[in-house]
């Protein structure tokens, strides 16, 4: 039997709005399988998002879904979680949403170690607005607002999350659909703030401008440029050049925000 996604999808909402070859549909499917694999009650699942292509995802899922303002996914999610810690809160957004306009919320959610799982869809571009460079667009890459090539330095989202205090940080790609599901499960189960950065292809906004227009080619690129963390740690700097590590990059246990607050103020 093929996997039945329909039990987590809202009836009549598919096909989704994403372009042909967009990696976000692959992410949505892995996410559904991960949540299903944990046997979570849909009534307790809250999904928040900001603005952008990634942020349209919650609208397709049969859960408590909150499509907020640009960058504010985690700020709304924090309010929901603190007001009702029993809810299982998943916040998501794209690279621009989460690390540019929402960057402040991102680092502070990491710092608090609030029990929210944050999925950052990194396709190196602002897709919804038509392909402008984002904080993760590689230097030299083309974007509609970088007609001479991007001059900006890049954020490494996973490093940013680790530096800011997230207690579970992982990275994966849309090539790795099954490992992605497993990482998502680990992140969802982790007590504290967990981040999964997912490298995804945007054939329309990024690929077209950078001679990577084939969706399959973009997925092959992810395979060729990603290295499992265990292997990565054995590699020399020369070997690492142009590549990125995937897998669980960081995992520690620290007191969770709401539990620590409750204990501190005498609520628990």
């Amino acid at each position: 039997m093929a996997y039945d996604y329909s039990k987590y999808l809202r009836a009549g909402k598919i096909p989704h709005i994403w372009c042909p070859g967009c990696g976000y549909g692959i992410i949505m499917k892995s996410m559904i399988r991960a949540i299903d694999g944990l046997g979570w009650d849909k009534n307790e699942v809250v999904m928040t998002s900001g603005i952008g292509c990634a942020s349209r995802l919650p609208g397709y899922i049969d859960a408590n879904t909150l499509h907020t303002t640009h960058g504010r996914s985690l700020a709304f999610a924090t309010g929901v979680k603190v007001a009702n810690p029993k809810l299982k809160v998943i916040a998501m957004g794209g690279d621009g949403d989460m690390t540019a306009i929402g960057g402040n919320h991102f680092i502070h959610a990491c710092r608090r170690n609030i029990d929210i799982t944050c999925f950052v869809f990194n396709n190196y571009i602002y897709g919804m607005t038509g392909g402008q460079y984002s904080p993760t667009t590689p230097k030299g890459s083309r974007a509609t607002t970088a007609p001479y090539g991007n001059s900006d330095n890049q954020f490494d989202i996973a490093q940013l999350a680790m530096g800011a205090g997230a207690t579970f940080v992982a990275r994966t790609t849309t090539y790795h659909a099954v490992p992605m599901e497993k990482l998502m499960k680990q992140a969802l189960e982790h007590k504290g703030f967990s981040v999964v950065e997912i490298i995804a292809g945007c054939p329309t906004g990024y690929g077209r401008k950078n001679k990577l227009a084939s969706p399959a080619g973009m997925i092959e690129w992810q395979k060729d440029h990603s290295v499992a963390i265990a292997q990565w740690e054995k590699m020399s700097d020369e070997e690492k050049a142009g590549k990125f590590p995937i897998g669980v990059l960081h995992e520690v246990n620290k007191p969770e925000y709401v539990e620590a607050y409750d204990a501190n103020v005498g609520l628990s």
Binding site: P15, H16, C19, V178, P215, A216, G217
Partner: protein, 64 residues
């Protein structure tokens, strides 16, 4: 080697991105009228890569 009994492709959902066709390791799929189609079911090894990587819920592979 696993085999597929059936590969269901929903033309109404397929957006023709060709991910499944290009990533199929055994060349079992092809494009027809800008949509994915089964080229040779016998070749399919039911690796599920097309189903897992289809962003559009358009392919289902049923293992034998």
């Amino acid at each position: 080697m696993a085999k597929a009994e059936k590969i269901e492709i929903y033309a109404n959902l397929c957006k023709g991105c060709e991910i499944c066709v290009e990533l199929c390791p055994v060349d079992a799929l092809e494009m027809k009228d800008f949509k994915a189609a089964v080229k040779d079911l016998d070749k399919c090894i039911a690796c599920m890569q097309c189903e897992l990587r289809c962003p559009d819920f358009a392919i289902e592979v049923y293992k034998k």
